[in-house]
Amino acid sequence: MNLSALGGILATVLGLIYTTQALMLPKASIGNPIAPKIFPIGIGILLILFGLILSFSEIKNTGLKKKDIEKDKNENIKLITYTSLACILYGLIFNRLGYVISTIIFLEIILLLFNGKEKIKTNTIVSICFSVIIYFLFSRFLGVTLPAMPFL
């Protein structure tokens, strides 16, 4: 797949969605009623334009396929997907389990992905140390309140 062409197409679609959303914005009750819309509509239309230019020039020059082929692409995408899922899980448990526990779980998963399960001992030490140190550093010294553990 030609990623540049795909980027152009996605940009065009984004531009279209954004512009229609901008057109549907309610009118302002104070001042010029269309004032909040002009700027967004302008950039929306420009994005559609540039998106179209990119898609057409890419399709004309290189075609939709070939290019950007990588061997390890699948593995990479898999890792990215797992990491993203871990991040979402982190968001879901963050407030419920508190900073320390949720971070240990999150880092354990990430380290499992990066470092492998053979090194589970190192992984665990790293995740626990990081979570505890950061928790105390932020909540005690930097004054940032992080969610505490539920039973402490």
């Binding site: 990623l3 540049s4 980027g7 152009g8 940009a11 984004l14 531009g15 959303q21 901008a22 914005l25 302002a28 009750s29 104070i30 001042g31 010029n32 004032a35 909040p36 002009i38 700027f39 967004p40 950039i43 929306g44 420009l46 994005l47 540039f50 998106g51 230019i53 990119l54 020039s57 950007d68 390890d72 990479n76 890792l79 990215i80 990491t83 993203s84 991040c87 979402i88 982190y90 968001g91 879901l92 963050f94 407030n95 900073y99 971070t103 999150f106 880092l107 990430i110 380290l111 990066f114 470092n115 790293v126 990081f130 979570s131 950061i134 932020f138 930097l142 004054g143 940032v144 992080l146």
Partner: protein, 501 residues
């Protein structure tokens, strides 16, 4: 009060023991983050910013200055030792720095890179002392229309000058502007593009996007490298210093490259990468023995290092005096200032002279501390590079998340982090530059406000944007910046044809 008096006052703040401690700490942490491949000053500042949340504005600024410089110094450490630049600006340091390390001259290379960075940084800070206020004074005359045109120029220059093609640069910029319009419109109170999500009403914090693109996106990009593990590197060093002969060879290249770097850095969109590459080519052409370049010529390391640090100072000028950052990294620095409640721009020097000059003074101090930290402690600090990236990068991810939470106290931003991180990854895969995106997110809001103010002043007449000399000059500059890459390509093409004949 005149410049020097302000500067002295700035020094009296920056030299307080507690602030010296902060700048040292910031510098060391910045050096460490800067050393990690792929993570440059932008990521360093973004990830380490939460550290400063409870400090007073002065201490916070000084710490961030330390981080910024530290990351600049650190970027070239990994270029020299493992042939992997910490960020784009450190790329030129691989050309001769790595060959030097392979020849067993790592000590000289590390010392020279720190010395050249130090001199480049100090020289350009001196220039800055004299340039900053006149520029700010000039910019005070700008009305909203001029401001709008200035931002249009800065953005389009960045979009067209960052590598990759012009269309991609503009797409990146426009997406950034779109992101900046999310949230409640300050003038009319209408929610725009929030899709009914309460947390989006306050808008998408640019720091979240920065952390996502620079930290998460970089980790995604580096998966392959991380999995492969570390490259072998030297961990035992002799005395880290240079010989007299090496200094003689590098003296002039360093001094020549500093003004060059400063000037290029001050141009919007150009930045450290371009400055260091130009300095390198420059010295190669001037050299009596250009054949040594790329094989461990010390001046080939000294020149780009000096230019790179000088550029990082030059880049602060448009950001501090006009409120328009010229590169991704300065955009992040501007984000840091905004976070501290300071609005960079012409008014900064009038309303907060103490802070503005304190910042400049701490640039001097930061540079000195960094040179002190980086020469004798280089051998110790680079051990970070010997820790496997498989462990380091997850820690960076952990820091990215805790930093994000510290900014907004909301886990909604975790999901945004993932979305923009993935977006950053695909942008880099499709070779769409990310710097215009970051820049646009930061200036987007004030750009729209100036646009609307100008329209209100002129009562709906769009000719106000071409109504003054300043606006017309800016318009011409914008057109030149957009057309220039095409002209350059043409000339290049013609040259190729000529040389082929």
């Amino acid at each position: 009060m005149d410049v020097l008096a302000y500067l002295l006052k700035g020094f009296s703040v920056a030299l307080q023991p507690i602030n010296l401690m902060w700048v040292t700490l910031g510098g060391i942490l910045g050096t460490i983050v800067g050393m990690l491949p792929g993570l440059g000053p932008a990521t360093g500042v973004a990830v380490l910013l939460p550290m400063t949340f409870t400090m007073g504005p002065e201490a916070a600024l000084i710490t961030m200055c330390g981080v910024y410089y530290g990351a600049m110094f650190g970027g070239s450490r990994s270029s020299i030792l493992i042939n992997t630049p910490g960020d784009g600006a450190a790329l030129a340091a691989t050309f001769d720095g790595y060959p030097m390390a392979q020849q067993g001259r790592a000590e000289s290379a590390l010392a020279m890179s720190a010395i050249a960075s130090f001199i480049g940084g100090i020289l350009s800070t001196i220039v800055m002392v004299f340039v900053a206020q006149p520029v700010a004074k000039f910019a005070l005359k700008f009305g909203p229309a001029e401001y709008f045109m200035l931002m249009v120029f800065a953005l389009s220059a960045t979009a067209s000058m960052t590598k990759g093609n012009l269309t991609k640069g503009f797409i990146s910029m426009l997406i950034g502007l779109m992101i900046s319009t999310v949230g409640i419109d300050a003038q009319s109170g209408i929610s725009r593009f929030t899709f009914g999500i309460l947390e989006l009403q306050t808008g998408i914090d640019f720091l979240v996007v920065i952390i996502a693109v620079y930290a998460l996106g970089e980790v995604f990009k580096s998966f392959k490298m991380i999995k492969e593990g570390k490259k072998k590197m030297q961990t035992k060093f002799g005395k880290i210093w240079i010989t007299k002969e090496e200094w003689k060879r590098s003296k002039w290249p360093i001094l020549r490259s500093a003004p060059l770097g400063f000037f290029i850095g001050a141009l919007p969109g150009a930045g450290g990468t371009m400055a260091s590459l130009m300095a390198y080519n420059n010295e190669k052409q001037l050299s009596k023995h250009p054949e040594e370049f790329g094989k461990g010529a010390i001046e080939g390391l000294a020149a780009p290092e000096s230019a790179n640090n000088a550029a990082s100072v030059g880049a602060l000028i448009p950001m501090l005096t006009l409120g328009v950052p010229g590169s991704g990294t300065t955009a992040v620095m501007m984000g840091a200032l905004l976070m501290l409640g300071l609005q960079p721009g012409p008014m900064l020097f009038q309303q907060h002279p103490k802070l503005a000059w304190g910042l400049i003074a701490s640039m001097f101090v930061g540079n000195m501390i960094l040179a002190i930290v980086n020469i004798p402690l280089a051998g110790l600090l680079v051990r970070v590079l010997a820790i496997p990236p498989k462990i380091l990068y997850p820690i960076v991810l952990g820091l990215a998340f805790v930093g994000t939470y510290a900014i907004s106290n909301s886990v909604i931003d975790f999901y945004l982090l993932v979305i923009f991180g993935v977006m950053g990854y695909f942008m880099s895969k499709a070779k769409i530059p990310t710097a215009p995106l970051i820049l646009a997110i930061i200036v987007g809001n004030s750009m729209e406000q100036s646009f609307r103010q100008a329209i209100t002043i002129s009562d709906g007449d769009y000719s106000i944007f071409f109504g003054s000399k300043v606006s017309i000059v800016l318009l011409i500059l914008t057109i030149v910046s957009v057309v220039y890459p095409f002209v350059k390509e043409r000339i290049k093409g013609k040259k190729n044809i000529v040389s082929a004949n």
